[in-house]
């Protein structure tokens, strides 16, 4: 069914495109949010992704690969959005949500550490981490999604993981806690 919808959408059928995009929408949003960590930027990236997808659909060669193609467009939109964020040098308030559970203080601290560590990574590194640890992709799948060599995907993942670990370990050392630090 998806192949037929893609073919229709490629020929300019808005309803077919919306049916396809609706099926992918939540996944795109979830992915973009995890890469960008910002609701407004996520909105912009997802909207841009859908518009680009509509415009570029006639150039999609293989309808069966629509979802992978769409995901790549989203990642590129996230890259663009991230660059725009850097240019604007915007300040962000870290969302600390869901502060309940076994040990609320520890959970909050964990998330805050991860959030700050994650933000120190490049958007390319974040993307590799999200594709790997959220979507469960292999290095080969990550490479295909990003249209990069497998070796590059592996090195990006390795570097991102090392950087994140270093930040978390540094955070955990006394005297290096962030302002308003934790016990």
């Amino acid at each position: 069914m998806q192949r037929e919808l893609v073919e229709l959408a490629k020929r300019g059928d808005h309803d077919a495109f919306e049916a396809l995009a609706t099926g992918a929408f939540d996944g795109l949003y979830a992915l973009a949010h995890r890469i960008l960590r910002d609701v407004d930027r996520t909105d912009d990236a997802v909207q841009e992704c859908l518009i680009r997808a509509w415009r570029q659909l006639p150039r999609l060669r293989e309808p069966a690969r629509f979802e992978a193609w769409l995901r790549r467009i989203l990642v590129n939109a996230c890259y663009d959005e991230s660059r725009r964020m850097r240019r604007r040098a915007e300040l962000h308030v870290l969302p600390l949500e869901r502060a309940g559970g076994r040990d609320a203080a520890t959970d909050l601290a964990d998330r805050d550490e991860l959030e700050r560590g994650f933000r120190l990574l490049s958007v390319e590194q974040r993307t590799v981490l999200v594709l790997t640890h959220y979507l469960g992709m292999t290095a080969r799948e990550v490479a295909e999604t990003l249209d990069i060599p497998v070796g590059t995907a592996q090195s990006r993942l390795s570097y991102a993981s090392r950087t994140l670990r270093a930040v978390l370990e540094a955070d955990a050392r006394p005297g290096q806690l962030a302002e308003g630090g934790r016990p």
């Binding site: 909207q47 690969r65 640890h133």
Partner: protein, 460 residues
């Protein structure tokens, strides 16, 4: 407390898992609304979907033939999809005795003729090829050839794809008449534009193919088709498409229709216009089919006659005036043009994005969006229904949309203008809409909309 390194990944997984899983409905609606007012990139009809074998079958034989093919090739049966909605073949079972217009679907053995480059829909150059150096003088090139039993026509827009029952691997055969174009530096890329510039001549194209670092090609040799000189060569597609599912050397044309796609290529010069006949066959293609393919191509009559009709859209009801198809990529002269329901039609006048006005036609199946509605009149007397105007001003863009009923279909017409668009331009677009009349045709929709344009509209 310092955590162990092995502790990081599980924490990261858990943290990533906490984020939102659903996007806001408003965002989706906004994106869709914007898409509806956004034109797609130029559709250059080279991407032939692989299951084209189904498109070439008449409705009467589809189920039987699909069952046979499914048994042979293990493919899924999708007889209720648009892919199988091919027009029925000619009602007459007798062989054609004079050239008939090539049509989609099974062909009765006989002589057929086609002018693939005529009219407004042909886009001989890819999106990256601006300014396209060719295409100004090709409209009147007509090909006439004899088709044996078991072949079908599948025109995609103005691409002509003539094929045996199965055009894809492992044993299909077919060819497409095109113009060549720029090359892909990566023939395996799934998307993106052509990026290797190619000039307009036969040698430009053949030499670019030969110079490509990754293509597996035969040595070009001289060839003549119906007296027109050219060069012939053969291109080998990948033996295993697992890592290259859409192998394609240039655009517009088809991509590899199966593993080990052998592609004979005739590149000829027709009075200064490059013509590329792009063949497709496979190791398991029956030798007689391969022979027929070559016989069809090599026995073609090629005419270059300015008297031939420039438009692929034939006249139907009004024999006193030429009705063109949808406006082409270049500025069109004033005259009658038409839109046949199916794909979205988009055209504009002026410089896009500043002072231009845009006009689009499309079938609209969903409920129209809310907004101020002011009925402004009825269309021509031969149309069933009225239309309404929904003026919206968003930032610097003004959208006006008309919805009209055509039988059980609704047609959405949108005029898009900008802050700097002159009122006279908007009035001209509205005049186009006012001029619309419906004409019965043999298309699936059963009609087309004919309208009048002043000078200067195009869809490029």
């Amino acid at each position: 407390m310092s955590r162990q390194r092995s502790d990081v990944d599980p924490r990261l997984v858990a943290w990533l898992d906490e984020g939102p899983r659903h996007g806001p409905e408003g965002l989706r609606s906004r994106a869709f609304a914007q898409a509806r007012s956004t034109r797609q990139d130029r559709v250059w009809l080279g991407r032939i979907p692989q299951p084209t074998r189904f498109q070439m079958m008449s409705a009467s034989i589809t189920l039987t033939a699909v069952a046979v093919l499914a048994l042979a090739a293990g493919v899924a049966l999708t007889p209720d999809t648009p892919e199988v909605a091919a027009p029925a073949p000619s009602a007459s079972p007798s062989p054609a005795t004079s050239p008939s217009p090539l049509h989609q679907g099974l062909l009765t053995p006989g002589e057929y003729t086609v002018a693939p480059f005529g009219g407004a829909e042909w886009a001989p150059c890819g999106p990256s090829e601006e300014p396209c150096p060719e295409a100004a003088t090709d409209d009147d090139i007509r090909f006439t050839f004899t088709v044996p039993e078991g072949w079908a026509g599948a025109p995609f827009g103005s691409d002509i794809w003539l094929a045996s029952y199965a055009n894809s691997g492992p044993n299909g055969a077919g060819f497409l008449i095109g113009r060549g174009g720029w090359l892909y530096s990566d023939p395996c890329a799934e998307s993106g534009d052509t990026d290797i510039p190619v000039g307009p001549t036969v040698d430009d194209f053949v030499d670019a193919l030969v110079a490509h670092p990754t293509l597996d090609l035969s040595e070009p040799v001289g060839v003549t088709l119906d007296g027109y000189p050219g060069r012939y060569l053969e291109l080998e597609g990948p033996a295993d498409r697992a890592d290259c599912p859409t192998f394609q050397a240039w655009a517009p044309t088809f991509y590899a229709q199966g593993d080990s796609n052998h592609q004979p290529i005739w590149v000829i010069d027709v009075d200064g216009v490059r013509v590329v006949i792009h063949g497709s066959e496979f190791p398991d293609t029956a030798p007689e089919r391969s022979a027929e393919l070559r016989e069809i191509v090599e026995s073609m009559r090629i005419e270059h006659d300015p008297a031939l009709a420039p438009s692929p859209t034939p006249l139907t009801e009004d024999a006193t005036a030429v009705v063109n198809g949808w406006p082409g990529a270049r500025s069109e002269p004033a005259g009658l043009y038409s839109w046949t329901p199916g794909g979205r039609g988009w055209m504009h006048k002026g410089v896009e994005g500043s002072g231009s006005v845009e006009l689009s036609f499309q079938v609209f199946d969903a409920e129209p969006g809310a907004g101020p509605v002011a009925e402004i009149g009825e269309l021509g007397s031969d149309l069933d229904g009225t239309y309404t105007k929904q003026p919206q001003l968003v930032a610097d863009v003004r959208l006006q949309s008309w919805m009209m009923g055509m039988g059980d279909q609704r047609i959405l017409l949108i005029v898009k203008s900008y802050r700097d668009t002159a009122p006279a331009m908007i009035a001209e677009a509205e005049a186009v809409i006012e001029s619309i009349r419906a004409e019965p045709t043999q298309s699936d929709a059963g009609y087309r909309l004919v309208f009048e344009l002043e000078d200067g509209w195009d869809s490029g």
